[in-house]
Symmetry: C2
Subunit: 305 residues, 2 copies
DNA sequence: ATATGCAATAAGTAAATATTATTTTCGTCA
DNA sequence: TGACGAAAATAATATTTACTTATTGCATAT
């Protein structure tokens, strides 16, 4: 098979029409040039130079070869330069799976910041239910996962506590609790609730937060179960009842339409975990992303960003 | 410097994502593939494959390399194929120098025939005075020369008698000789002549042809000396005198305007020689052209073509 | 003629490339 | 778990290739 070096020697020889000079320009000995040319001539089974006494001259075949050899050599140099330019540079493509709430309220800010630091890294975000996001991570279909419940069923993934997404109690603006601003835990039993489904992150978070209290989420008067927090905020706004949603939702779509009511002695915090593979080796981009998310300082409580 | 073979191994490995299979497809051993990949990785100072247990996977750098390597390998194959296609094929570019008459009346037909046999050979014809045409051949500026006088001053050229271009006596149509159709040699002294210059091929040819007769060209009544045969034909046509021109001119531009008069006992023939280098090595195209012109059967006398 | 410039050849050494045999590492199947 | 199996890495070795110096052979120029 052809060798870019050999063709390069040929090109210099074709340019100088003098093997000795060509050898000097290539920093090699004259016989070496002769040998390379002879090797090429044997390879192509045709002569490339006419040796007329002391003068050298390209044959027709040689003339045909020159421009093609030039192309190959410059392609070779392009490769070298491109690979060289990759040195230390962080680039590539990351796949991040995440569940609904993190996908809507956490990732956008996070990725904007990450993109600032590593503009050559493309990130694709796959929003899907919790379990599926974690499955994809375990199967290697995504490089990272952002979710509020870290399944331990998968050995190949490592999860760390990434940040805290507060969950708050919201009521209609004209609700009595809204006037008071805060309530006692036991008062929760007095109202009709609109909640997420039982296997949602928000539901579990509230359930776990109430575990140390006298109130059980299962015994609340549940009027309605909805599949997403925005729908709950809208229902609350319409006066159907009260509910728990991520603070981001309450101050986002719910701002000025619902009231946030504090529950004395209870702060509900939905932990958001970030997970990655432990077995699969990782690229520079993956390491950079991990370094980024584990070093970034995000308040554990309070408004997200 | 990069080696197309190594990149090809990389490409197959990247395609199969399995070094053992890649080795089989390349007809080499598995460790050899490993070594090539390692060599590339060392060369680029970056890893190209992620070795995750039993599964192989390209790194970002590897993904960047694949299309570029493909380009280089296909360029390499293009070169191989092109050079292969040159095998035995006759192509290239010939330079033929020739003097005026052969250039006008011999070469066009000759080249048309040659082109038929070897359509890939380009031919450039340089028309110039005799001496210059031969000089260029000797200096290697042209590959062949077609001329009626073969200088022996140049050691590096070989000339062979190529064909015979008859030189004929022409008169105005209403001239007495034209009525007779032929004359005796001695009658030449009776007329006014329009001739080419003394160092022209035509002049020398006529002079040499008369050498064995009682007539000397120098003693003819020379009315006018002109630089080309067409001008002579026109002047004869106008009735200024009679002259000697190549039969091709007489039957060409002179047809129906001048008469051809035979001189009893005298056939004037201008030998046209074709010359080539003997020292400089020759290309296939040159050999083909030489073979063509030396084997072609051209009547030694009579109308050209 | 003689000297010089330049390519070809010869011979020896160093380096790269291939091979076989072996080890290591995972993944898989009892 | 533990043994087996597949696949890559490693080791050791042989072979081929590439480069070097020294020499020869032409062809040109003085």
């Amino acid at each position: 098979m052809l060798d870019a070096h050999q063709l390069n020697v040929f090109l210099i020889a074709a340019e100088t029409l003098n093997f000795t000079q060509a050898a000097q320009r290539m920093n090699m000995s004259q016989p070496s040039v002769s040998q390379h040319i002879q090797a090429l001539e044997r390879h192509f089974n045709t002569s490339l130079f006419l040796r007329a006494g002391r003068t050298l001259q390209l044959t027709d075949a040689g003339l045909v070869l020159v421009p093609m050899a030039r192309d190959l050599v410059s392609q070779s140099i392009l490769i070298e330069e491109t690979m060289e330019s990759l040195q230390g540079e962080i680039f590539g493509h990351l796949m991040v799976g995440c569940s609904t709430t993190p996908g809507k309220y956490v990732l956008p800010h996070l990725l904007a910041q990450f993109h600032n630091e590593h503009p050559k890294v493309r990130v694709t975000c796959l929003v899907s239910p919790q379990a599926q996001a974690i499955n994809m991570l375990c199967e290697g279909k995504t490089h990272f996962a952002l979710a509020s419940f870290a399944h331990k069923s998968c050995m190949d993934a490592e999860f760390v506590d990434f940040m805290c997404d507060p969950v708050v109690l919201i009521t209609p603006l004209n609700h009595p609790w809204a006037q008071k601003g805060s309530i006692e835990i036991e008062e929760l039993y007095d109202e009709n609730f609109i909640l997420r489904e039982e296997d949602s992150g928000t539901y579990r978070t509230v359930r776990d937060a109430l575990r140390n209290t006298s109130v059980r989420i299962e015994r609340l008067k549940t009027l309605l179960t909805l599949g997403n927090s925005e729908a709950i905020a809208l229902s609350v706004q319409e006066g159907l009842g009260v509910g728990f949603v991520s603070q981001a939702v309450a101050t986002g779509v719910g701002r000025d339409h619902v009231a946030i009511v504090k529950i004395n002695g209870l702060d509900i915090c939905r932990e958001i975990y970030i997970g990655r593979h432990t077995r699969l080796p990782s690229t520079k981009a993956q390491n950079a992303f991990w370094d980024f998310v584990t070093s970034i300082d995000i308040p554990k409580m309070g408004t997200i960003f």
